[in-house]
């Protein structure tokens, strides 16, 4: 029996672990390229301060990596425990990029991270720089495979359902690899990681400058972070727009929900800057609309329409009715695989099988679906509008706020007077949490916006969960939350501790507070 409580708890557990995990990930992704930039300057100029910068910021990167590594493994646990049916149904496709990511993360990335920390006295300058570059490449490739897996959940291309094995089977690896949703997500997500890394360096450098300590070190770090951060936030905004482009049907549903777009407007559709969505009556009680913008962003044209929620619901009703036929034919084929008529019927409706499975939430035999049940299933196909509408706008607002900060930091860096602007330094310091908040909001929009599906149009969430006991889920949820909370507290403690110590913790004799850390050199 499907239990809504079981579904809710499984979703909550996965969401919590994924969101904790993603507190560590973007900083790792972003810091690797900042380290590459700093070390490249060191190799090109031979100035020791750039080596110190690479080592100091590398130390903070190391803390984050040590705390963050393996935090994703609890999600792998959950695929086997909480999401066993999901894992069987789509494991043939979903498992492949995850397995490759495992090799990337644990072999390529970890090997070069080890060489980065232990190779300073063993490798030449150029060899060490190569190691740092490969570490960054490995980290980004790791993200690529995860996002290919996630992109497939949003837009399941290159796979077909087999009624013999009762699972999705990969028919085109290249379609999975070059899935436009996955590619757009990858570049958007890693750019967000770069912004996080840049903000981290910018904020801590601003802290030193406000305190008037390690000034030259902080100034050079600030300049690099300002330039890298500005380029990255521009990428995030441009690539986020690309991510919003309606490349697939899944994105259309999500887009309509994010925009609280109930009706299909004449092209080009307007953009609801602010609205108060009324989900019950499927209208906005209040809205401030900017003409044309949504149509241009969503379709890259002035004459293509973006379907509104009501139109999508109508289309989904047809797909549910077609899916009902697919489910009936599938059940018949399981009893008699040689039934040619049923096979033809199944093939005719196979594309809508997932929509038919939505009915299973309410009725065991889909033939007994009443009009009321079908309407409820139709309503299920649209995610909740209000949380998506506001979380998306908050994410975008944070994005433009960071654009302003990095833009100002870059302009004053080029003018050479940023250290005389306390308001800029304070803004940089106080905005430290913003990229993390944006990342979490972005993931919320991406994943909550895919509901009620785990794999869009293929597998409903309620069909994906395992039949575990609710008590065991409460237990594991508490265990995971406790584990991650401890890690987060330790991360914060170590980060604050070493950020306060500053480059003096390197023990090179060139920085403030050196007396307290003599003998720590090279650790």
């Amino acid at each position: 029996m499907f239990s809504e409580q079981l579904v809710d708890l499984s979703r909550l557990q996965f969401a919590v672990t994924a969101m904790y995990h993603f507190l560590f990930v973007p900083l790792t992704i972003g810091m690797t390229w900042i380290l590459v930039i700093m070390e490249t300057v060191y190799v090109m100029t031979g100035h020791a301060i750039y080596k110190d910068m690479t080592r100091f910021w590398g130390k903070l990167f190391g803390i984050n990596f040590a705390l963050g590594v393996t935090t994703g493994i609890t999600m792998e646990f959950q695929f086997g425990t909480n999401w066993a049916y999901y894992s069987h149904y789509v494991g043939d496709i979903f498992g492949a990029p995850l397995a490759i990511e495992g090799l990337m993360a644990f072999f390529l990335e970890s090997t070069f991270i080890g060489l980065f920390f232990f190779g300073w006295d063993r490798l030449s300058r150029r060899q060490h720089l190569l190691v740092t570059i490969l570490m960054a490449v490995g980290t980004n490739l790791s993200a690529l495979w995860i996002l290919i897996a996630n992109g497939w959940m949003q837009n399941p291309v290159g796979a077909e359902f087999s009624y013999v094995t009762m699972r999705m089977e990969m028919v085109d690896f290249w379609a999975v690899l070059f899935n436009p949703d996955a590619q757009a997500k990858f570049v958007h997500t890693v750019s967000a990681g770069y912004v996080t890394g840049a903000m981290f360096v910018l904020s801590i450098s601003a802290f030193y400058l406000l305190r008037g300590r390690d000034v030259e070190f902080a100034k050079k770090s600030f300049r690099i972070a300002a330039a890298f951060g500005f380029a990255s936030i521009c990428s995030v905004i441009v690539l986020g727009d690309e991510s919003g482009y309606t490349v697939g049907e899944a994105q259309q549903t999500k887009l309509a929900a994010i925009e609280a777009m109930w009706e299909t407007e004449p092209a080009p559709a307007g953009f609801n800057l602010i609205a108060i969505p009324n989900e019950k009556e499927m209208k906005n009680d209040f809205a401030i609309e900017i003409p044309w913008i949504m149509g241009i962003i969503g379709t890259r044209s002035l004459d293509k329409q973006i379907p509104g929620i009501k139109a999508i619901r109508e289309k989904n009703r047809e797909r549910i009715l077609s899916g009902q036929e697919a489910v009936i034919a599938l059940e018949a084929l399981r009893k008699d695989p040689a039934d040619a008529a049923m096979k033809t019927r199944f093939e005719d409706h196979k594309a809508d099988l997932g929509f038919g499975l939505l009915l299973k939430k309410y009725v065991a035999d889909v033939r007994q679906s009443t009009p009321e049940i079908i309407e409820t299933a139709v309503a299920d196909t649209i995610p909740r509008v209000t949380p998506l509408f506001w979380s998306f706008r908050l994410m975008v607002a944070f994005g433009f706020l960071m654009l302003g900060l990095f833009g100002a930091a870059l302009v004053y860096s080029l003018n050479g007077n940023f250290a005389d602007k306390p308001w800029l330094l304070r803004s940089a310091l106080w905005m430290l949490p913003v990229p993390w908040l944006s990342c979490e909001l972005g993931w919320f929009v991406a994943e909550y916006g895919r509901q009620p599906w785990t794999i869009y149009g293929v597998l409903p969430t309620h069909m994906s969960v395992s039949t575990l006991s609710v008590n065991s889920l409460y237990g594991s949820l508490a265990g995971f939350v406790g584990f991650y909370t401890v890690l987060l507290v330790v991360e914060m403690y170590l980060m604050v501790k070493f950020a306060k110590l500053g480059p003096g913790s390197l023990g090179t004799g060139r920085y403030d507070n050196e007396y307290a850390h003599a003998g720590e050199n090279a650790r």
Partner: protein, 66 residues
């Protein structure tokens, strides 16, 4: 007064070891016996499972309370 030198490498190594032990502990407690074996027969049965207890009559246009 000078503070005690901080050996980050030792702290992180210890941390990673403790973390791995905790993860193994979590796996032992919650995952080891919770593995659900799924094959084509089982998923076919799952797809034919009885409906959820929720009545559709409670639903409005806002069904995603989960």
């Amino acid at each position: 007064m000078p503070r005690k030198p901080v050996n980050l490498r030792h702290e992180l190594t210890l941390l990673v070891i403790i973390k791995l032990m905790v993860i193994i502990g979590l796996w032992w407690a919650f995952v080891r016996d919770a593995k659900v074996e799924v094959d084509s027969e089982r998923i076919a049965t799952h797809l034919s499972a009885p409906a959820v207890a929720t009545s559709p009559t409670h639903h409005t246009g806002n069904p995603h309370v989960q």
